[in-house]
Symmetry: C2
Subunit: 260 residues, 2 copies
């Protein structure tokens, strides 16, 4: 096990690919199939850490998927959860399951209408995600006009979330501690600096002051710290991805250190 | 109120559009914003009927959306639920909410992993939905090759659902009575005959015998009967939609009767 890796999580570091053998499972131990840079799988990891759920992580190469992975999930996507031969997939489905079965700390509001409202906001955030990917693609094409346009789309998409934090008047969407909405949004919050680098513009402090504080506050959370990847590494991974060669197993940290 | 309309549901038949005024709400009465031919909104109506929840329906013209509708739902989509000024949207979010707050009959399995599995199958069904829309578009272009290809995609996408019915060995996915998976899938099941008409091919009895029985069984369900639209009317609506002029308020039943 890598030094400093959370005691909660046993992780196979290399991304398994075509021709590999699925590592044997351990009875009673929850397994999360993951890709190190996948924001959707990161949601599930965040919830696993927030709830102190013992688990292991198996990383999957999404460009050359192992044959056996299609038997785990017909969509062959991450996150996929496995427990004693039972399988479940999709970030929201897995996070909701974990919240139901491991109730502490509860991540959704108790009131069903309020819970539904959180899920509406998660759906609404889909617009922000699609604008973020547009910004990345504009960056890859070095299309400055498109970069500016799509960046504005991100900022506009974030406005209802800034408004929501204002209405709630709390540090996190979940209150004094992060809730489900915080953890579902965070993997993209962690990548906001990459959007800023891609668009060569900063998210405006005047328009989004509460979201900017939220980003700082989230970085202090224990679960976030456990799976945090810094912007510089996200950027290197993104550039490799955009060129069609995602560096699942590349040692970006070492590359980064060598540049300093 | 139209004769024969379910006593559970008070429905404004015309689809309200730009320039309209939002009809006043009734305290304590659940309202569902709907579009008569929207399969996603139909999911919510099915759950409302399955659980005998008193509600009213307000139909929305999705091509010329009322200005006030954006205040109800920033995505301005149906279904949207409103109750005493509180708002919720998205078919899965609203259906899950209704199941939580109106527990009888329960539509999900009690076991959280089984519940998660139902939600995985709902996600997996997304592939079938996207293939269905491809078939419609091939039909609009009269591209016979594409019609055949996309129809095969639908058939292949349905294979895991046929297999699931076989494993379960029950009349419905939910057992002896329809459950959430049945109601979430049904609006598309109701439109399978339109796919058959579009592709000029029948879903193969030999490959999908259990799903074909499922379709017959579903048509006998009380909730399904309450919101059922026959294939001929779906087809007329689809053709108008594909030509860019969806006939939200067109009297397709009368047109159909005049043809007989």
């Amino acid at each position: 096990m890598r030094k400093g890796l959370s005691q909660l999580s046993k992780m196979s570091l290399l991304h398994l690919k075509t021709g590999s053998v699925c590592p044997p499972t351990t009875p009673g131990l929850l397994r999360c199939y993951n890709m190190k840079y996948c924001p959707y799988a990161q949601r599930t990891l965040l919830v696993l850490h927030a709830k102190n759920i013992k688990h292991e992580v198996v990383n999957i190469n999404l460009m050359e998927k192992p044959e056996w992975f299609f038997e785990k999930n017909p969509l062959a996507k991450v996150p996929t959860l496995e427990l004693d031969g039972k399988l479940m997939y999709e970030s929201l489905v897995t996070c909701d399951y974990l919240d139901e079965v491991y109730p502490e700390p509860p991540l959704y509001p108790r009131d069903p209408w309020q819970k539904g409202r959180e899920r509406c906001l998660i759906e609404l955030f889909g617009k922000v995600i699609s604008s973020m990917y547009k910004t990345y693609r504009a960056y890859a094409k070095e299309d400055k006009e498109e970069m500016a346009e799509t960046f504005n789309e991100v900022v506009n998409g974030l406005a209802p979330f800034e408004a929501e934090l204002k209405i709630r008047g709390t540090k996190f969407f979940g209150g004094n501690t992060p809730g489900m909405l915080d953890y579902i949004l965070w993997p993209f919050g962690e990548r906001f600096p990459v959007v800023e680098i891609s668009a060569r513009k900063m998210l405006p402090q005047t328009e989004l002051p509460l979201l900017k504080s939220w980003m700082q506050n989230m970085k202090e959370d224990r679960a976030v710290k456990a799976v945090y990847i810094p912007p510089e590494i996200h950027k290197m991974y993104l550039e490799d991805s955009l060129s069609g060669k995602p560096g699942y197993d590349k040692n970006y940290s070492a590359l980064l250190a060598s540049k300093v």
